[in-house]
Symmetry: C2
Subunit: 103 residues, 2 copies
């Protein structure tokens, strides 16, 4: 089916890019962070409270997601607030849930 072919990943760069992004969101803590951010933007400390583990650890995971531009940050005074770079990310997670987790 030609139409489907057109839509698919082609070319080394596209594969690599998608692969890196998927890999970035595939870590359990990072997936939790993304779920947490789906509601509203949150400060690092808010995320720590919601997700668990140390602030240092969260900060490193945030850096990975930020680097892939899956989330963006904004600094307000003392705090740094994170939000999803693209709200469709939530849709992607839900779709993954339906395909892989759902029964």
């Amino acid at each position: 089916m030609k139409i489907f072919d057109e839509l698919q990943l082609s070319g080394e760069e596209e594969i690599e890019k998608a692969s890196r992004s998927l890999r970035a969101m595939s870590h359990p803590l990072r997936l939790k962070i993304l779920c947490t951010l789906s509601e509203t933007e949150k400060s690092v400390q808010d995320i720590v409270d919601h997700v668990g583990t140390s602030q240092s650890n969260i900060s490193q995971h945030l850096a990975i997601l930020r680097d892939k531009e899956i989330i963006t940050s904004r600094k307000d005074a003392n705090k740094v607030y994170y939000r999803l770079g693209d709200t469709r990310t939530v849709g992607l997670i839900n779709m993954a849930k339906n395909v892989f987790v759902g029964e």
Copy 2:
């Protein structure tokens, strides 16, 4: 928004499951394999020809995808044929492309 909350990943197990599956499909070679299998089922050798790298390497990646039930296999005489476990996987990949790779 309650409706959205309901749809999201909740509970440690769901997070872990989705995370493992996403991680499994996030490797460039495995993403290529999934793209290749979106058209039609293929033998291991077919996949090797389409994707590149050694048969041994492909076999190991297939095992990872098989283990997570992202693909299934069928043995016919001498050969083993692989196909997608859930055709919605293609949709998921396309969505990832749209969100992460964009145009």
